[in-house]
């Protein structure tokens, strides 16, 4: 069975500072990995994905993520946080037809 862990319920960061939201996964075979963002009472919006190739993936709104196969991690990063980045972030893994999400991490960016 596949699983995704987001060990932090909430991450607090000051505007302009770098941010990292952590994600680790467990899956058989090669995974497809994703990050999504959710604003209140809305569906999830796709940020970026890793399928194959370069371990550093760049996505929407200046976000990037680094795939680390040995640590089975896929951490989300941004060099300089904005207040508008405050939202709920989900990591997901897809293997076969199963699409499994982590528990979510709330990112709070303070001015």
């Amino acid at each position: 069975a596949q699983s995704v862990a987001q060990p932090e319920d909430q991450v607090n960061v000051a505007e302009g500072n770098p941010l990292t939201v952590k994600c680790t996964y467990s899956v058989s075979g090669n995974p497809y990995l994703f990050w999504y963002v959710q604003y209140p009472n809305r569906g999830l919006q796709f940020l970026l994905k890793y399928i194959t190739g370069d371990n550093l993936v760049k996505g929407s709104y200046g976000f990037e993520a680094e795939f680390n196969k040995s640590q089975t991690s896929f951490h989300l990063k941004k060099p300089s946080a904005l207040v508008s980045d405050s939202a709920l972030y989900f990591c997901a893994v897809k293997a076969g037809n199963m699409l499994t999400f982590g528990g979510g991490t709330r990112l709070m960016v303070k001015p």
């Binding site: 497809y32 999504y36 569906g43 999830l44 699409l99 999400f101 979510g104």
Partner: protein, 111 residues
């Protein structure tokens, strides 16, 4: 381009009443379709997924059922709602090797 429609956006239903939530996808064929429930703005619980017409996999035994009468239509149902069925329901689709695309969600309140 592909789009996903989910309705209604909000729903208030009495305990014991039936439920029908509909999700349709446009611009793609033979998508994988998913129903998730999100409680209290946190993690996503996979309820059902479907890889084709009439093919439904249930991940969590509960008071709900799903059907896929057409290739791009996915319906979530219940014969008698419980208070515990309240939550935010999200429909999603994926293609081969692609990220998931989400509907805008249905906020269900059972009273």
């Amino acid at each position: 381009s592909q789009t996903i429609h989910q309705w209604p956006a909000t729903l208030v239903q009495p305990v014991g009443s039936p439920l029908s939530l509909e999700c349709t996808v446009e611009g793609t064929s033979n998508p994988n379709l998913y129903w998730y429930r999100q409680a209290a703005g946190r993690g996503l619980q996979l309820l059902f997924y479907s890889v084709g017409i009439g093919q439904i996999s249930s991940e969590v035994p509960q008071n709900l059922s799903a059907s896929r009468p057409q290739d791009r239509q996915f319906i979530l149902s219940s014969k008698k709602l419980l208070l515990s069925d309240s939550g935010f329901y999200l429909c999603a689709w994926t293609g081969v090797g692609t990220e998931a695309f989400f509907g805008q969600g249905t906020r269900l309140t059972v009273v």
